[in-house]
């Protein structure tokens, strides 16, 4: 881990509660430019909540989250500034069903970046080619397979040319035969040097791509290590138990 790279996400002593339920307990995590972090853990461990705190789809109650130099607070301007630079891909794709694939991709560049439509179309086609579905541009999301929809969702996020990409279980809602096409796109993205934080159960992907694997359980970060160490010599008993279950 080199510390000279630019700090992209700094999470310090973050706590979060849903009423009485303590979802995030004293979370500390540092993500530098180009880092590829995989967050793993059993369901209900708080990993999705954590990643959703990074672009403030969820608010934390204690501690500090700094994204690209901006501290996330109640201030809507700061939140919008962070969201413009952070792309997110969801488990359920969340494409806009009443718009074509192309319009899904150009919406944010046009409305948020105030880009002229022709330029936005060109940009969108570039990213649709990158996720290998330019021929679907004029279709509606409902006409595509799950894997295609998720690739459109990735292209949609990329159209804002984000500095950081967040993936919240991007392959969990897909049929097995479609998982690979989405993971392939994510691997390519990683190879291009994108800063990525992925919540995923795809341990093969973690092994291949991650700089670090973060293991969460019951709202805590239990272990954080490079993949070789994480998979071959985990320190914590909880990590061992988890790995025994899923590998």
């Amino acid at each position: 881990m080199s510390d000279d790279k630019k700090l992209m996400i700094g999470i310090e002593h973050v706590h979060k509660w849903y009423d009485d339920f303590h979802v995030l307990k004293d979370i500390n995590l540092t993500v530098r430019e180009g880092d590829r972090i995989v967050i793993a853990g059993p369901s209900g461990s708080g990993k999705s909540t954590l990643i959703r705190c990074i672009n403030r789809l969820e608010a934390h109650q204690e501690g500090k989250i700094i994204v690209d130099g901006v501290e996330l607070t109640e201030d809507l301007k700061r939140i919008d500034a962070v969201r413009r630079e952070v792309g997110m891909v969801f488990q359920q794709f969340n494409l806009f069903p009443h718009m074509t694939v192309l319009d899904n991709c150009t919406l944010a560049p046009i409305w948020v970046r105030k880009m002229p439509k022709a330029e936005a179309d060109e940009l969108a086609m570039k990213f649709l080619e990158r996720v290998k579905i330019p021929e679907q541009a004029m279709k509606f999301p409902g006409q595509l397979s799950g894997g295609q929809q998720q690739r459109v969702a990735i292209a949609r996020a990329l159209c804002m040319t984000p500095k950081i990409m967040l993936f919240d279980e991007p392959t969990s809602a897909l049929d097995p035969e479609m998982i690979k096409e989405v993971l392939d796109v994510m691997v390519e993205l990683a190879e291009d040097g994108m800063t990525m934080v992925c919540v995923t159960h795809e341990m093969g992907f973690a092994r291949q791509v991650a700089d670090r694997v973060v293991f969460m359980d019951q709202g805590e970060i239990v272990e954080e290590a490079e993949p070789e160490v994480f998979f071959n010599a985990p320190k914590s008993e909880r990590t061992k138990a988890f790995l025994a279950q899923i590998l």
Binding site: N55, L57, R83, N94, W111, V112
Partner: protein
């Protein structure tokens, strides 16, 4: 032969089906011929006074409608100024009809004119009170004119206001949420008749001295706020049908709250509730008849008023008048209903598997 095969298959396929078919034929037999007889065959079509309709065995007295048509449409609007009402109707139709046709050109300009300019043109034309026009007090307005003014105002105000209230009710800001809930629950819990009485009789007591609001205007405001509360709940139903992920995805790419609502959530939500929205419009259109109780004469009120005219005191006068009013209401409401069916079909093609 084809007809017989078809009837065997669809009308007489079983004993139960045959019984229902025969029962339906019986119902048609006892209801339709007398109705046609009353409305057409033994109806009186020509005549200048009540003497034409005095035969107790005759049907509908259409000359009564013909003689009073002007009152039914314009109320007591001065005869010399009626062209202003006609012009308002004509402009309205010219603006609304192309706005409703999806393929008509210049939609943006059309809507700006319809919602931005037309209301003011209509007010000036109808009320006058400007140089060159004789002022016509709203107490002179009546008939279909009042029905349309109340209904159109209610419809045009209630949709946007209802949307805002529905969004407010789901807001994360407690003050806005409480205000929206309070507003909606208050107006929904009060009968429209009470609202109109309050607007017409009680409100003036609270207004500062020397400050007066037109009676019709007060009723318009009452009707608009009342129907907004209903509209809000219809729209909220649509909002709840949209998965949370839609708004989250929109916020995550950086869209603001209003962009998220206007571009992502509302277009989907409103599409789901077109039947409910049109249902509310139709209910509102018919509820305009209630303004009668505060001394404003809408179409139905005007028909009732003309019934007491001694020149037209005839056996079938009341029935004919009410049937005439019913037909007019039916035409407008049925038109709205068909248009909503058309829009639903149109919006459901193209996307979704």
């Amino acid at each position: 032969m084809v007809a017989i095969t078809w009837m065997r298959k669809h009308l007489f396929s079983s004993i139960g089906n045959s019984a229902l078919t025969l029962f339906a034929i019986y119902i048609i037999y006892i209801s339709v011929p007398p109705l046609l007889n009353w409305a057409i065959f033994s109806a009186v079509w020509h005549g200048d006074s009540r003497t034409a309709c005095l035969d107790p065995n005759s049907g509908a007295c259409w000359p009564f409608v013909k003689a009073n048509l002007s009152q039914f449409i314009y109320g007591r609007y001065p005869a010399s100024e009626i062209w202003r009402v006609n012009l308002t109707f004509l402009l309205g139709a010219a603006a609304i009809i192309p706005a409703l046709i999806p393929s008509a050109p210049a939609k943006k300009f059309n809507l700006i004119f319809l919602l931005g300019a037309y209301p003011f043109i209509a007010i000036v034309l109808l009320a006058g009170d400007r140089p060159g026009l004789v002022g016509v007090d709203t107490t002179m307005w009546g008939g279909l004119l009042v029905t349309l003014v109340v209904a159109v105002t209610g419809i045009v105000v209630s949709l946007p206001l209802g949307i805002l209230l529905a969004l407010g009710r789901r807001s994360e800001m407690p003050v806005i949420r409480m205000l929206s809930i309070g507003f909606i629950e208050f107006w929904r819990a009060v009968p429209l008749v009470t609202v109109l009485f309050m607007a017409s009789v009680m409100l003036p007591l609270f207004l500062p001295e020397g400050f007066s609001l037109d009676n019709l205007l007060r009723c318009l405001i009452g009707v608009a706020l009342f129907s907004s509360a209903y509209m809000a709940e219809v729209v909220r139903g649509g909002l709840q049908a949209i998965p949370r992920g839609q708004a989250e995805a929109a916020r995550a790419v950086g869209l603001s709250y209003w962009q998220t609502m206007g571009l992502i959530v509302l277009p989907q939500a409103l599409r789901h509730v077109i039947p409910g929205i049109v249902n509310t419009f139709i209910g509102l259109f018919k509820d305009t008849t209630l303004v009668l109780i505060v001394g404003i004469f809408d179409l139905l009120g005007q028909v009732r008023a003309q019934l007491s005219d001694p020149n037209w005191a005839v056996p079938q006068g009341a029935t004919t008048g009410y049937v005439f009013a019913a037909i007019i209401f039916w035409v407008f409401c049925f038109g709205m209903s068909r248009y909503s069916v058309f829009m639903e079909r149109r919006l459901n093609t193209g996307h979704r598997k």
